[in-house]
Symmetry: C2
Subunit: 224 residues, 2 copies
């Protein structure tokens, strides 16, 4: 009931409104009562994270399709966080979530990357990194949506006006590429997922065929 009430408040008024006092009030009691069921606010946050993320569909790893599967999983994670603004911030703050639902998703990601043929010692770093980027993207996206609509629009106008007034001699590239900054966040995210996965694929090839292979040479960043 506590987690439900907290999720309700977050959905209606954003994560900032989810205080122990506000949640308790929702349940017609005082804040002290919550501490019989929940260690502290951090634990409540972790339970909310689990509630939101528990039902991400996880595929059976298929070595032939690891790239598509990884991208799909990343998109699913981002989608669910963007849909519940506030959850991404909790995920950023939670460091290492240890709640069952999240671990299942992380395990699925490990399974997919493992099936790619990437050396075992690189699989956890790759998954950590990807999960972190997905979370950070969703967090930025929810900053926009969770700000009061009018406030966000005002800030956006301020920024646009500011960008238009930039001195071309101090920041030439910003000025030159100004037009390319307007764009859909989710498209940028998809592009970045592709870039990341292509980079992983290069690592796979580099480790599968350390010497220049005969049939179809591919070059990754060999420099590490």
């Amino acid at each position: 009931m506590i987690v439900d009430a907290a999720m309700r408040v977050m959905g209606a008024e954003g994560l900032d409104a989810v205080s122990m006092r506000r949640v308790a009030h929702e349940l017609d009691t005082g804040p002290a009562s919550l501490y019989a069921h929940v260690r502290d606010k951090r634990e409540l946050h972790e339970l909310m994270l689990d509630a939101a993320m528990r039902d991400i569909p996880v595929p059976e790893p298929d070595p032939e399709r690891w790239q598509q599967q990884l991208k799909q999983l990343g998109l699913d994670q981002a989608r669910i966080m963007v849909r519940n603004p506030g959850i991404a911030r909790i995920a950023m703050e939670t460091l290492i979530p240890t709640t069952p639902g999240i671990l299942v998703t992380m395990d699925a990601m490990l399974g997919i990357v493992r099936s790619s043929g990437l050396p075992a010692r690189l699989v956890p770093p790759a998954c950590d990194g990807l999960a972190l980027y997905v979370t950070a993207f969703a967090y930025e996206a929810s900053l926009w949506s969770s700000a009061q609509d009018s406030e966000a629009r005002k800030r956006l106008e301020e920024i646009n006006a500011y960008l238009d007034s930039l001195p071309a001699d101090r920041v030439p590239h910003l000025v030159a590429m100004r037009e390319h900054f307007r764009g859909e966040g989710i498209d940028h995210f998809e592009f970045m997922l592709d870039v990341f996965i292509a980079g992983l694929a290069a690592q796979v090839n580099a480790s599968t065929s350390p010497a220049a292979p005969a049939t179809e040479p591919r070059t990754g960043s060999r420099g590490r």
Copy 2:
């Protein structure tokens, strides 16, 4: 003086201790006095971000070395944020920093990526994405270091104990790869930078030579 006092408090006691009241106290005055110089707490944060990031060295873009230059810039940004715990959190929360110091760094990154030959419309998304990942990494790193030492160690032990008790039938990959999770965060970060840059290089090649080239064929993720 206000920004200096705030940086001092953050350095000594962490970002959470940087309240308007605490900073005012540091200056032997009341919290209301600060509002004559600073619009609100968000603006104070932005000024702190600028103070910390203003002197990141920025290279002259060299098309021959864009990969090394990009990696170096990412490492420099991460290093400075990890050195000032709290700055990374401000950077995550600030959405689009509009302060001069930060814009110069962003401009330098745009210049480097532009010199790589990546299509212009992909340059801003790539820089946004890279900057976001760098910031997110530094944020996670500072979560560890900014927690009270004893508290962080306790939490780490809890997590390790928990990971050791995981059921192999529910999360087989987590259990199988457990040993590879212990590792230096900064090494993982460098690996991820390499992966990302290799992915970008693949995109560059894919757009430079859309048909199979003659001399030295390279394959990127052609699928988008």
